[in-house]
């Protein structure tokens, strides 16, 4: 959910609390640090919640010039603390420019001007399609989720997309119940056929590891396991036969300065 859905709420609305790691950091902290590292600079269209926290962490550590763009129309926001809502006053007060909502979508997002789109998800499938609309049938849903917000066009138009979502069989499904935002559709060539100009999801960061699309099949495969997580555990948390990439590696654990910066952002309590 890009538009403020809260911290990657589960399908029933509660926060999924990940199990504490044996390390001196939580699995969520590992996930947030890993996500922040993927942002190298340029511009980032930021969803609220985990994406916003990771993008602000990147700006506080290795990417001070990262331009944060929120769908509320704030360009170049520099909040001291991650905003609680997509339209927090601090975003407007610290922005280089505040534009209307039509303008942020039409002049800034749509032309492919923004390097990275940073999204959460309620469900994600093997082709990195995202669902934030309904669980179950649309006309008679088991769970009605908030809906699309800015995500369909962020997923279509940003140079590339990073997804941050906790890994569980409920969230990582073979086929999403509803395609809110297109990853790779049904596989290779679909983005081109649909005229989507961004490269699509390049990285899916979870509390267990990192997934990337296979260069040939576009299917999400595991490229990194976070320290202490086994391949079996990642597979058990995935609703399709999760493949490991040939060069499967262990994620570099959070450095002290990364953890310190993150905890400063979350006010000491672990996110």
């Amino acid at each position: 959910m890009t538009a403020s859905g809260g911290q990657s709420t589960s399908t029933s609305g509660e926060l999924l609390m990940s199990a504490p790691s044996p390390q001196s950091y939580t699995a969520d902290e590992m996930m947030t640090v890993a996500a922040a590292r993927r942002l190298r600079g340029g511009s980032c269209f930021v969803g609220i919640g985990l994406p916003s926290l990771a993008a602000n962490l990147a700006r506080r550590t290795h990417a001070p010039d990262l331009v944060l763009i929120y769908e509320s129309g704030t360009i170049g926001a520099k909040p001291d603390l991650p905003p609680l809502s997509i339209g927090d006053g601090v975003l407007a007060d610290t922005a280089d420019s505040v534009v209307s909502v039509p303008e942020i979508f039409n002049y800034w997002l749509q032309p492919g001007r923004i390097d990275v789109g940073f999204l959460g998800a309620a469900q994600i499938d093997r082709y990195a399609n995202i669902n934030t609309t309904v669980i179950g049938p649309y006309e008679d849903p088991k769970v009605r989720l908030p809906g699309a917000g800015g995500a369909p066009e962020i997923a279509a138009s940003c140079g590339e997309v990073t997804v941050i979502v906790r890994q569980s069989p409920r969230a990582f499904v073979d086929r999403v119940d509803f395609v809110t935002s297109v990853g790779f559709g049904s596989g290779p060539g679909d983005r081109e056929r649909l005229g989507l100009r961004g490269r699509g999801p390049r990285t899916v960061i979870t509390d267990l590891g990192i997934l990337e699309p296979d260069p040939v099949t576009c299917e999400l495969v595991l490229t990194h396991l976070h320290p202490g997580v086994t391949l079996e555990r990642a597979r058990a948390a995935t609703g399709w036969e999760l493949a490991a990439a040939p060069g499967l590696r262990e994620t570099e654990p959070p450095a002290d300065h990364e953890l310190a910066a993150l905890r400063a952002l979350t006010g000491g309590h672990r996110s």
């Binding site: 959910m1 709420t9 769908e71 509320s72 609680l84 997509i86 505040v98 909502v101 749509q110 809906g147």
Partner: protein, 273 residues
């Protein structure tokens, strides 16, 4: 030229059963006071339009004012779900709720078309998603120069648009600043409009980032200090995050919701400055 009148009178003049009504304000300047007045006046069968239906639409839906919702993201920002919205969609309580669902870019452009006197807008959007399967108001359109296929959405022209702003002068000229969202477009797209303001001033001083809506495109202006609470009005108030958190528990249960509404909305008068 807009007339400056009390809120209860303005809502009574402008909002009728069966109308399409857009209350806009993108996380900022949300017109809660006007929404509460619609609830107090007992309007029914409204088509509610809003990019981000949040607590105020949860309240309108839960109180049975709405027949239909046109929206792009319905949640409690930073908290989670809207329980009254969910209950209406999942369990038809207190009444069935039709939904017409878009993306933000789609609704924003539909308002732009409405404000521009065009029957539709063109965007790169929706393609490959399941939205067009369920939303009839999304259609393909072909570029007459390149042959490329894009997406069209029809204009939104609400019967009434309602927004909240920082201030107005006595001629009904309105000024708002900070995150200004899609409010200008909503007002210009609507047949009638109401702007509630923090205060009516003698003269509108220039302000960086301010959008000015001249009084001659507005129907009524009403003073409603604090009228955006629990959202905020930059320069006047800050967001009441605690209330957004508290709403989750209040709205989760039908009884506690009705009790809260009775106590905090139904039995209160609209401010009459």
């Amino acid at each position: 030229m807009a007339t400056v009148i009390p809120l209860a009178e303005a809502v009574a003049n402008l909002v009728h059963d069966g109308d399409s009504v857009a209350l806009e304000g993108f996380t900022h300047l949300i017109p809660y006071a006007a929404g509460h007045e619609i609830i107090r006046q007992g309007r029914r069968d409204l088509t509610l339009i809003r990019m981000t239906p949040d607590l105020i639409y949860d309240q309108l839906i839960g109180m049975g004012c709405a027949r239909r919702l046109i929206f792009s993201w319905g949640g409690n920002p930073g908290v989670g779900s809207l329980h009254r919205f969910r209950d209406a969609v999942q369990n038809r309580w207190p009444a069935p709720l039709e939904v017409e669902e878009h993306s933000h870019a789609g609704i924003a452009n539909a308002y732009v078309a409405g404000a521009s006197g065009l029957p539709f807008a063109v965007l790169r959007g929706y393609r490959g998603t399941d939205l067009p399967v369920h939303t009839a108001t999304v259609k393909p359109i072909t570029c007459p120069f390149t042959g490329e296929e894009l997406t069209a959405v029809p204009a939104i022209n609400p019967d009434v648009a309602i927004v909240h702003a920082q201030r107005a002068d006595r001629h009904g000229n309105v000024q708002l600043w900070g995150i200004t969202g899609v409010q200008k477009e909503a007002v210009l797209a609507a047949r009638r409009s109401l702007v509630t303001v923090e205060e009516v001033v003698e003269e509108l001083e220039p302000h960086p980032g301010a959008v000015t809506l001249p009084g001659w495109v507005i129907t009524h202006v009403s003073e409603a200090p604090g009228g955006s609470h629990p959202s905020y009005s930059a320069g006047y108030s800050v967001r009441d995050n605690d209330f957004y958190q508290a709403w989750d528990a209040i709205a989760r249960d039908r009884e506690s919701f009705l009790t809260w509404m009775d106590e905090h909305v139904l039995t209160r008068e609209a401010a009459r400055p």
